[in-house]
């Protein structure tokens, strides 16, 4: 598996280690399938065949047709292509987009960009568990609405949205429905037909595949009754991916993605049972044994591999730094560990106070997580929380313990 040192990796939502079988597959193609699929000769046509076979494998995981899979370079690119591609192509039809307030930045910042280009975007609020309200969604649709983009399962708090119901509403109103399934593909069954999904983003490096490979599922390969072509490309050039995504195809990487999908298909059920067991064990142990802690997200409508806990009175970066010292990799929604210096918009959206949003800890598990890893984490965490709380001036209910008459000055 290639872990260089004894290290418990509990940050699978950030990215996954690659599966050794995927590495083997890519390496094989690195050596053998170096051709350019656009080339006419055998070496090129051989690469073209591997490309199409990979497309077939990936399509089958989500019940799509082969020609509805478009390979990109990342989840971010897929999100950008979906949103900008549909928005700019359908300016004439309408300028209204509906999304949620807990989208990944790849959707959120793209929406903000589209707002600057004259589009109107409605950001649906979510409840304390991170769920959107279906009635509110339907009421938000106007005759200018062209696109609904709702994240399948949230990357921070793991909440799974009611995708099938959203799909029905979108279909009923003839609005295009995109979902960011970057955290979902390979973890939870997805059926684009049953769920009425029109566009779906995914990224190989979240499911033991390579970084730099993503996909966008595009219903009807971009043609829709009453709309005609409903999406335009983001990258112009040689006309690859049937004109929707130019660039010489990364065939070895794509074949690696396909291999990763195959492996997920094979092990998804078993893996998710294991992870749900670990997940619920962590939640139970920690909420029972540590004070002033709460679960972020939903108890059951939740990704099998995600735990997100809020620890009052302490700050998240110092938690994950302490865990790192103990050889445990985890993540936080704290501003201090992000580039933007803002606390997680997802935690704020589920109604957390900013000071609490700073104290979140995200544990995400995966294929290589063992019971021993979980036990090690459960052993190391409590003393860390205790030590940091001892260091903190914040305490249950009262913030200023020394002399309440001292004047308080806030930086910023």
């Amino acid at each position: 598996m290639g872990f260089k040192m004894k290290y418990v990796y509990l940050d699978y939502a950030a990215t996954t280690p690659m599966d050794p079988e995927v590495i083997k597959e890519i390496e094989k193609h690195y050596r053998e399938t170096y051709g350019n699929p656009s080339s006419f000769h055998k070496i090129g046509q051989n690469a073209a065949q591997i490309l199409e076979k990979s497309r077939e494998i990936v399509a089958s995981l989500i019940n799509a047709k082969t020609d509805e899979i478009f390979f990109t370079s990342s989840g971010t690119e897929s999100d950008n292509l979906a949103l900008k591609g549909v928005a700019f192509k359908n300016k004439g039809r309408g300028n209204h987009i509906i999304t949620s307030s807990i989208e990944h930045h790849a959707v959120l910042h793209t929406c903000q960009y589209l707002e600057k280009q004259g589009f109107k975007v409605s950001y649906l609020p979510v409840d304390e568990y991170g769920l959107i309200d279906l009635k509110e969604l339907e009421e938000t649709i106007t005759n200018k609405t062209i696109l609904i983009s709702i994240i399948f399962a949230n990357n921070e708090i793991g909440t799974i949205e009611p995708i099938k119901e959203i799909g029905e509403i979108a279909k009923k109103h003839d609005v295009i429905f995109h979902t960011d399934a970057v955290q979902t593909l390979g973890k939870v069954p997805i059926d684009v037909e049953e769920m009425n999904i029109d566009l779906l983003s995914a990224s190989a490096h979240k499911l033991y595949g390579p970084k730099g490979v993503g996909l966008l599922y595009i219903r009807g390969h971009g043609v829709r009754k009453g709309w005609g072509n409903y999406i335009e490309p983001l990258l112009h050039g040689g006309g690859h991916e049937r004109g929707l995504r130019s660039s010489t195809e990364n065939v070895p990487g794509i074949a690696g993605f396909a291999k990763a999908v195959e492996l997920c298909k094979r092990s998804m059920k078993e893996e998710s049972e294991k992870l749900i067991k670990f997940r619920d064990k962590i939640i139970k142990e920690i909420t029972e044994n540590i004070e002033d802690v709460y679960l972020n997200g939903h108890y059951t409508k939740r990704l099998p591999n995600n735990v997100n806990l809020g620890f009052r009175y302490i700050e998240g970066e110092s938690i994950i730094l302490s865990l790192d010292v103990e050889g445990i990799a985890a993540s936080t929604g704290s501003a201090c560990s992000s580039k933007s210096l803002e606390p997680s918009h997802v935690l704020l959206a589920i109604g957390q106070k900013p000071e609490d949003a700073h104290g979140s800890l995200r544990i995400t598990m995966g294929r290589y997580t063992t019971e021993a890893d979980i036990d090690y984490f459960l052993e190391k965490l409590p003393p860390i929380i205790e030590k940091l709380r001892k260091m903190s001036p914040l305490k249950n209910g009262k913030k200023y313990m020394f002399d309440p008459t001292y004047e308080i000055n806030h930086h910023h």
Partner: protein, 124 residues
């Protein structure tokens, strides 16, 4: 990310904890922004005789808090007032740029404590 010195102070913070009989305390930061720091001082002959901290914040916030207690201890109040953010960062073998700006509050905290002490003295 962090230097070894930072990690040392983060893992083994010096002079950590509330000081019940402090002469003054300085508070900086705001938990809403993810940082809150208390610097407690005890003064004798215009010198910092004892000092401690309590901090809610990231690794850099904790390490800088710890470091200032080491830097300030034994200094006269005038000397202590002159300790800068850069002094602290330098003593810690540097801080990530983003942290220089946002979590390096300890010198402000100490200055606040000293000002509070002097204000109190005047009143008495």
């Amino acid at each position: 990310m962090y230097s070894e010195k930072v990690m040392d102070h983060f893992r083994n913070p010096r002079n950590m904890g509330e000081m019940k009989n402090a002469d003054a305390v300085g508070e900086v930061g705001n938990p809403v922004c993810g940082d809150l720091m208390y610097i407690y001082i005890k003064i004798k002959d215009d010198r910092i005789n004892d000092i401690s901290f309590q901090t809610f914040g990231c690794g850099a916030a904790i390490a800088t808090s710890s470091m200032i207690t080491e830097l300030a201890k034994g200094k006269t109040l005038d000397e202590a007032m002159k300790i800068t953010r850069d002094d602290i960062a330098g003593s810690l073998d540097g801080l990530p740029p983003i942290k220089m700006h946002c979590s390096n509050l300890a010198s402000d905290g100490l200055r606040k404590a000293i000002e509070n002490y002097r204000a109190k003295q005047k009143k008495e």
